[in-house]
Amino acid sequence: MTDYNSTRSGDVATPETTNLKWQSHAGHLIQQHDRWSTSSRTSDSSRNGLLAALEPSDFALLHAHLRQLSLTAGATLQEQEAPVEQIYFPLNGLISLVAVMEAGEVVETATVGRRGAVGAFAGLGPWHAFTRAVVQIPGTAMVISASHFQAAVSQSERIRDLILRYKEGLLAQVQQTAACNALHQVEARLVRWLLQAIDCVDDPKLPLTHDHLAEMLAVRRTTVTVIAGKLQEAGLIRYHRGRIEVVDRLKLEEAACECYGTIRRRTDAVFCTPQTAVI
């Protein structure tokens, strides 16, 4: 494990002692590594698109309070209706925002990867989450407490604006997903989801089972198996023992519904300034 030196303003650099804390949360374990990093944004944090989009002076308001966290598969980062206490900026991996119904059924409403955040809206003030955030593909995230994030946002209009633009982009994803779920065929929906997932993780290999996909799309596992099987026969994907690999991305994009492109375009606009944004 790498040692990092702590550098708060005025502190003398000391060798790091990694502090492992085990925290039980909704039956899942989240392993926390407390690291104080000398790294500027060019190392870890810049892998998150929102943090990378901040002006250096704005990032400086957050830097000292960001810590790196491992996200384990299946962990619940945020419970539905619960207060938002931490904001997660993924560096990799994939998080699903799922709606939980009264009888316990869940369906995914949005995906969050390294171009997004979980709980960002709490930067504007105390907030309760509308959906449950679950880690689908493990990875790491930079995490900040809601109170520290609120303090930073109160000092920077630009951070506030970025949060609001991100919220609009997320809403665009959810709106298009709702339309897609209502109108489009399951084959196109599955292909759209696969493309969104590989964009999120920047990797054509997804450590996911057919059960995972079935739950996210609210269809039967046997349905996923039939469609995945046909995509494999056509040479577009390959799957084996809990891993799905996209083999022919171009052909897969042709098989996706319009919603993949629409969501991509609208979430890209989050990172444009108001003058350059084209929705």
């Binding site: 109108l183 489009h184 065929q185 399951v186 269809v219 039967r220 596992r221 046997t222 349905t223 198996t225 039939v226 099987g229 046909k230 026969e233």
Partner: protein, 72 residues
């Protein structure tokens, strides 16, 4: 628990090689009906005509089949 295989017959057939253990034939019927609904959803009748979910057992014998019915 018995093993059931959820195959698709029709214009683009698919053979289920992995199968699924389910407690009873009723559970297999529910799974097959759900699968047929998933696959037919938002499709026109002509897009699904002739397609069926064919459920077989461990020895390859057909247990039952359900027709897909697109209704858009």
């Amino acid at each position: 628990m018995p093993m059931f295989y959820f195959n698709l017959s029709g214009r683009t057939p698919f053979a289920d090689v992995d199968g699924q253990n389910l407690p009873s034939i009723i559970d297999a019927m529910q799974e097959a009906m759900g699968m047929a609904q998933d696959l037919a959803r938002n499709k026109r009748a002509r897009e699904t005509s002739g397609d069926q979910v064919v459920v077989t057992d461990g020895s390859g014998r057909e247990v039952f089949r359900i027709a897909l019915r697109g209704s858009r």
